[in-house]
Structure formats: C-alpha cells, structure tokens
Amino acid sequence: MKTITTFGLLVLVLSMTFGGVINNVYAEDDPAILLKIAKRAQDQIHNQISDNSSDKVKGLFEEGAQKVIVLEEALKNNDYVSAKEYFLSAMKIFKEISQHLTTSDGSFNVESQPASKTTRDTSKDPSNDLQRLQVYVDSLKTIAKRYDAVIDFSELDTLFVKARQEINDNQFTQAIETIDTIKETITELNTNLREAASHQESKRATEYAQKYLEQLDRLIENAKKQGVSDEIIEKLETAKENLSSAENPSDIIQEIRKIMSIKDQFELTKNDRLESRVLQIEKTLLRLSQMDGVEQDDLADARYMLQRIKQNLNDGEFETVNELLRDLAKQLEEIKKSL
C-alpha cells in the first residue's frame, strides 16, 4: 500500500511538474514551417534578381539557396538543431539581398512585381485607416451593449459603407474626408459611452473600496495582535476613515494608494497575496452564483468556506488560509466543470 501511495504521489508530482512544461511544448518549434518560409523567401528573391543584378547579389543568392538545400536535408535527417541554424543563416542572407535589391536602383527588376503598385500607394489609400477604425468601433459597440447604453451607431455604419465604396472607386480624397467625419463621430460617441460607463465605474469603485475596507479591518486587527505601534495603527485607522468617506473613483484610488504606502512603509504587505487570492475567489464565487444550473448547496458550502478563510485571515492563521483557499479553488473548479 505504501508503495502504491508513493508511486501515486510520484505520478502526481511528475504530471504537475510536467503540466507546466506542456504549455511550453506548444511553443516548441515546428521545423517543417522553417523550410516553407525559407523557400518562399528564396522564390521571391529569385524573381527579383535579373541579369543586371550585381555579382555580389547573385553570389549571395547562391549561398542562400545552398542554405535552403542543407536546411531541407537537415529536416529529412531530423537534425533540428542544424535545421534551425541553416534557417536563420538563409533568412539572414535573403534579408541582405533584399535590402540590397530594394535600395539599389539598377539591380531591381521592377517588372517582376506587377501588383506592388497597389501596396506602394497605401499613403494615399486609406483602407488601413478605415480597417483600424472599424475594429475600434466594433469594440465600442460591444462595450455599449454591455452597458445597455442607448447609443446610435447607425450614422457611423452608414459612413463606413460610404468610405468603403469610395475606396473601392479609388476616390481616396473623398474617402479620407469621410474617414475624418467618422473620427469626429467616434469622438462624440465615445463621450456618450464614457458617460454611460462612469456611473458603473463609480459603483465598481465603491464595491472595490468596500472590499478593501474589509481587508483593512483584518490588517488592523492583525497588526494589533502582532503588537504594531499605536502610531501605525492610528495611521491605518485614519486612512480607513478617509477611504470610507471617499466617493468618486479617483478619490478612492488616491486613498488606497495612501494606505498601500503606509503598508509598504511599515512592512505590512506580507498578507497581500492571500488577500488578492481571497478577492479572486470571491469574484469567481459571485460569477458562479449568477449562473444558471449551479447547485445552491454547493454555493452555500463555498460561501461558508470563504467565511472560514476570512476568519482565519483575521486570526492570522495564514497557513490554514492557504490550505483552505486551495481547497475552495478546487471546489469552485468542480462546480464550473459540472455546468
């Protein structure tokens, strides 16, 4: 039995340890794509080189092409270390050639670039501006929806259609004017949206201050137990009063910054990590309680556990808090999975 337990524990440790590594495994290199990129670059460079190109360019190209060949060989032999080296060398050479070709007037074969004109004209073509603004407006629409804000985007939508049409018709000057109008309209809408958001922000700030006050109570209680000087306790009490009376978000932030400064000054930050975890867990619990299909008994258990955690934080039982937090996190994860 002891052997099985030890074995089980070993497996658990291995899987948890390597669990972290598996994320990195995703980021491990996929050598096959190196060849694709290198070959594409090679083909492109090859198209650009003409008989008029300098011997240096031609020589470099031969060198680069050779690197691609050995890269392919290395990949066939599963020699990924060499493959990576060859890839980087090849790309370095192609970069050098490309730089040389694009800055050297005589050696660049313009005829081999039939579609380059369209991309060269981007300073006049405002497509990208329009694209970026569309992404931005999409974000604003999503936010407006989140606030149930009555904001009329129809004018903007019409302007986007108009600008798109103007770009399609190569009427770039008109399109730029329309885009300017879009920008002005966005500024107005943004103001309306910020107004709609400000009420919610005040509410969130007050809720956050309330949570922070709870945490501050625990901190003061612990500080008293640990025999922290009356002067520091008094400072914390004053800061607490100031925070309680703060109303708007900027005042709340300012007061909390002052409290943090006191905590830093007197080295009272050692429980902050646990407090942050408590806040996170509390948020998860709140989210779950707003979801359908969650067993009320499970939520009640979780809430009871959270109360125990806070009580233990009050009592300065930090190891117990750590354990309970971990248990509660697991419990909440189970609830999430059961949905």
Partner: protein, 352 residues
C-alpha cells in the same frame, strides 16, 4: 558481521579504543525521507500557479497592416487588490486605445508616453486593444517588424507580404485568408518583409502541416501519461472495482446522442449560412471568417478544441475569437461533455 548503527540521539559514549561502523548502503533512506521530498515537491507544484497568477500577460495577438501600423490585442492578469495598474505599451504612438475589465466594462485609463495607467478597481484581468505605429519601419520597399515580447505571441502579416528575413524561429505558421500568421516566442524578434503580387495559392489545409514533434517532446509528455496509466491499472487491479463496465455503458449512449445531434444539425444548416453571416457582419475579421467557414463546413457546429486544432491557435486566442463571434451574435456557445460546443446561430436578426 552485522554492523551496528548508533543513533545520534542516544549519545552513548564510545570506549576510547572502539570502532564505529556505519552502514552506508542505507544512509540515504536513513537521512532523507522520501515522503518528505515528495510532499515538498507537491507543495512546490501547487504553489506554482499562485506565483504566476498576478500581473502577467496571458495573451498577445498582433495584426500588421500594410501601411506600417499594427493592432495589438493583449490580455493581462492583474492583482485584484490593486486600485490601478501601469502597463508598458510597445511604443508611444498609440491610437484607438480601449481597455475593458473582466466583465467587459470599460476601464478608465491614462496614457503617458509608452505607459498606460488603468484604473482596474479590483479587476483581476484586463483586455487591452490599441493601434500602434512604432513597431514597423520601412527602408525603400523593405519593411521591418520588430518586437520584444514578454510572452509567446501571434502575428498576422499584412496581405501580399512576403517574408524575406527573420531572426527568430516561429513555432507555428498558418495562412488565414492568404495572410500568413506566425506564432513567435518570447524575446526580441524581427521579421523583414516586402510586398508582392498575391503568390500564396495554397489553402490553409495544405499549408498547415502536422508539427514535427521530436523524441524528447514525446518522452516529456508520454512518460508521465504512461506512468499514470500504469499506476491506474495497478490500483484498479488491486481494488478489483467495476469502473470499466460503468464507463462503457456511459460512453455508448453519449456517442449515440452526439452523432444524432450532429446529423440533425447537418440537415438544418446548409453551407450558404457562412455567406449569410458574412453579409450580416461585413466588418468581421478575416480570421474570424475562416472560423465561421470551418464551422459551417463542419455542419454548423464544432468543438472549441477542434477549432484550436484546425487553426493551430492557443487556447486563449481561440477563446477570444469565439467570444468575439458570440458578441457579434453569429454563434452560440454551449457545453457538451465538459467541452465548449460552438454553433452557428440560425436567427441572426435577434442579435441586431
């Protein structure tokens, strides 16, 4: 001869001419308690997620435009105890900056230089979107994108761009609507590109290949799995429980239900639905359109894991894409066997 072990705590006084015998073959067992080490490792393993949980970038996606600008979308975990959070932007030339908290609420922010101070007010994660003009430089026809990234990130190259130089090794590559999308690692990376005629004729399916996984990777993943399976078999055999029949009986109807529902949906949704969605949402991102096409071709529904596999996207990137499409009202997300099932919405008008 049996050696005598003299425990230290006995503190027996040895006779002056005596000899101390120490049994060396069991010294490790005597001195080091294996369960203690394992318990220690467990504690280390358990505390790892806690250590990395605050103020860390979770996701970073870049879209490069052909005029040398770029769109950045990033998700950062922040400390919920902090009232605000200062984030380093990738440059000072910022446009269209939007930051939302975990609930999708707009957060106030102030940008000074290449730093933004965000009033998080207890949020534990923020999603930041902005356009930037500092990442790409141009020399003649030669463009250079450069980024020093704190995490693995994805970059969608501009249409018709051809990479002609790079000093970093991409971990994956995909083609999204004729645009190359690369996954790059942490640290400084530089990509040089030029614009050309559209030369990419290959479809995503034939461009994207199965990644070549080296032996060490297989070993790294395989060994713990094999060990776990072996352990499980031993435990099961010893306990002689009846878990297997239970699993089998549960599995059959589940698969049956799944097949039935897929068949039903296939009949209900035809392939032109993707076009309807694109007409409904003309502003939809090109990579999102690819996702819609795939779901449509898959009978109108797909598991999120299938999408990740198809588009070779990290979990967070795909989740953001899916959530984006949900917000646009073109898909709905439901749970199926603990997995996210993504379905195309039939009634698009409702979301308008």
């Amino acid at each position: 001869m049996n050696p005598i072990i003299v425990p230290i705590h006995r503190k027996e006084i040895l006779v002056e001419d005596g000899m101390l015998f120490v049994r060396t073959d069991g010294i490790l067992e005597t001195m080091v308690k294996a369960p203690l080490i394992i318990a220690g490792l467990i504690v280390v393993a358990l505390t790892m997620p806690v250590q990395f949980s605050f103020s860390s970038t979770r996701m970073l996606d870049l879209t490069l435009y052909s005029d040398g600008s770029a769109h950045i979308s990033t998700q950062i975990d922040v400390d919920p105890l902090e009232p605000d959070f200062e984030v380093n932007l990738f440059g000072p030339s910022i446009d269209n900056f939007v930051v939302v908290g975990e609930n999708g609420f707009l957060l106030s922010s102030e940008i000074i230089g290449d730093k933004a101070t965000i009033d998080t007010l207890g949020s534990s994660s923020v999603t930041i979107d902005y356009d930037i003009h500092d990442l790409i430089s141009k020399d003649g026809r030669f463009w250079t994108f450069s980024l020093d990234s704190p995490i693995t990130y994805s970059v969608l190259m501009p249409p018709n761009s051809i990479i002609v130089g790079m000093d970093a090794l991409p971990s994956s590559m995909d083609v999204v609507n004729d645009q190359i999308k690369l996954e790059l690692g942490t640290g400084l990376s530089e990509i040089n590109y030029i614009f050309s005629a559209p030369t990419i004729s290959a479809t995503p399916s034939n461009i994207t290949e199965q990644p070549i996984i080296d032996v060490s990777t297989i070993a790294l993943i395989g060994v713990p799995i094999v060990a776990a399976i072996a352990g499980a078999i031993i435990v099961i055999k010893r306990k002689q429980t009846k878990f297997l029949p239970v699993l089998q009986t549960e599995e059959t109807p589940r698969l049956q239900i799944e097949n039935d529902s897929i068949e039903t949906t296939l009949n209900e949704i035809n392939f032109s639905e993707a076009e309807t969605i694109f007409n409904f949402r003309p502003e939809m991102r090109e990579d999102d359109k690819e996702i819609i096409k795939f779901i449509s071709n898959n009978g109108g529904q797909a598991l999120e894991s299938e999408l990740r596999k198809k588009f070779l996207q990290p979990r967070t990137t795909m989740w953001r894409a899916v959530k984006r499409l949900e917000r646009q009202g073109v898909i709905e997300i439901s749970k199926k066997d603990l997995q996210n099932l993504i379905k195309l919405k039939k009634d698009l008008e409702d979301e308008e």
